[in-house]
Amino acid sequence: MDRYAKQRLVGYLARGATALVVSVMLFVVGVTIFRGARILLTNPSIVVTPPGTQYMLRAEGGFLHAIVGSIFIVIPATIVSMTLAVSTAVYLQSDYSSERFSDLTNMFLNVLWGTPPIVYGVFVLTIIFATGARQSLLFGIIAIAIFQYPIMTRYTDEALRSAPDTVKEASYGLGSTRFETAQMTVRSALPGVIAGVIMGFARGIGDAATVLFTAGRSTNMPAGPMDGATTLPILIYENATSPNDELVAQAYAASFLLIVAVLALIGISKVLAGRFARYAPGGRHS
């Protein structure tokens, strides 16, 4: 085979691989959206109906409990995690820490970033054992927050890093304190920070392994922060393997909601990242 035939072959292979990846994606999203939409259209009430007493056996009622659980676990977790992540990123970027400490922290952040979510789940579970508490919404929030923290920190750190140094210099030049300067840096990188928070939110809302042991896999509406709860991914996981067709159908309906939510979040973060690119010097050029 001569050089040019080889070059052509690799071109075909690269295009073929891409076509494969794209078609798999279209297939998975297509199946989920199509089936989910059909089920939601025939029986839209399952979204707003709480589960009946025999939900896992006879599919009584709907899965409002999982929707409520997802919202009340992921939103507070995102707020907690965002606060910590932005603060950590500011700490690493601004003049609070020595370079060596920053490197050390970055190393640990990398390890946390690569840690499987199930480990966070088991960790929070050990805390539950140690405190003698019950699995509940609150522990679900804690687990998801820990899971999101390294993800959001990474994105935020990147965003702050690409903020121009001139902002910092100009701010210090006016006699600002570090805190006031940090505020300016965050503001100048805000779209990127928000995009990072949204990505963290999207990851949090889709993850099951962290909440599996911590939120309680309840089949009732959560009554309070100390009550057992469940989330959409767990509902999908449990319903998917059920012999009851109606429960499987509800899993597709739940998947539909989850995919739509994730797509919407990506869309928002893309828009923000685009805006971010316009402000950041030398940022992503399309």
């Binding site: 050089r3 040019y4 690409s162 010097p281 030398g282 050029h285």
Partner: protein
Amino acid sequence: MTSNVALTTDELSVTYTGNEDVKALNSVSLEFPSNQLTAIIGPSGCGKSTLLKSLNRLHEIQPNVEIEGDVSLGDQPIYNTDEPAPEIRRRIGYVPQTPTALPLSIYENVAYGVKIHGDYEDSAELDEIVESYLRKVNLWDEVKDRLDTPGAELSTGQIQRLCLARSLAVEPEVLLCDEVTSALDPISAEQVEETLKSLKEEYTIIMVTHSMDQARRLADDVVFLYLGELVEANDARTFFENPQAERTKEFISGHGASTYLEESSDESDSEVQPDEQADGSRDRPAAVEQ
């Protein structure tokens, strides 16, 4: 020999088709004599790099570029031909502005092109080729003891000479050099200039420069471009001492022999934009980061 023409452009136009079409090079017809060093000068954004890259079809790696006209090597056309671009680029070598070591050892850097084209019998011959070209660029004595270390560990001046050796090793007929000394400190630049001077006996060298001094020191012929148009092409003596075109006179006197054209040219000129973008995108450090 010296009167022969190595490379000819025939009404060559290059257009960047982005949101709006911008003509970076407008119908340029030129003859580059063989075994001479031709310097291409002009204010930044005048299409120097565009012209250089279109001579061996290198701009083809950028999206949104359209070419009209043709370039011929001897009497063989470069664009209207079935010959694949790599074969053409082998005969017309290119040395980029930034000293660039490939992620290979010093030895492999020089051997890279030779290996690709399979121009050697055995490893002993390859060794010979590598040594002779490293000698040709006056680098052999500096690196002969560490041929296995990464090329990037050399100093920038050494890397630029390594680039020359790598380009020469495939035995091109023409060598295109894009401001090869602009990224170097004065001493390294002088070494590279010396190397170029010694090479022009054997090769046809076409070189973009923004330093008038350098053009005076090295060039046999000078091509002056302004906003994508050819203003004047002449042998160096005539060009500097008795310029024909009005604009050339202005340019030479207005900028003085020792000033750098880059600095005094009007960067905010809107017509400068397209080439600036094409060239500038890879120079932005922030985009490269992450």
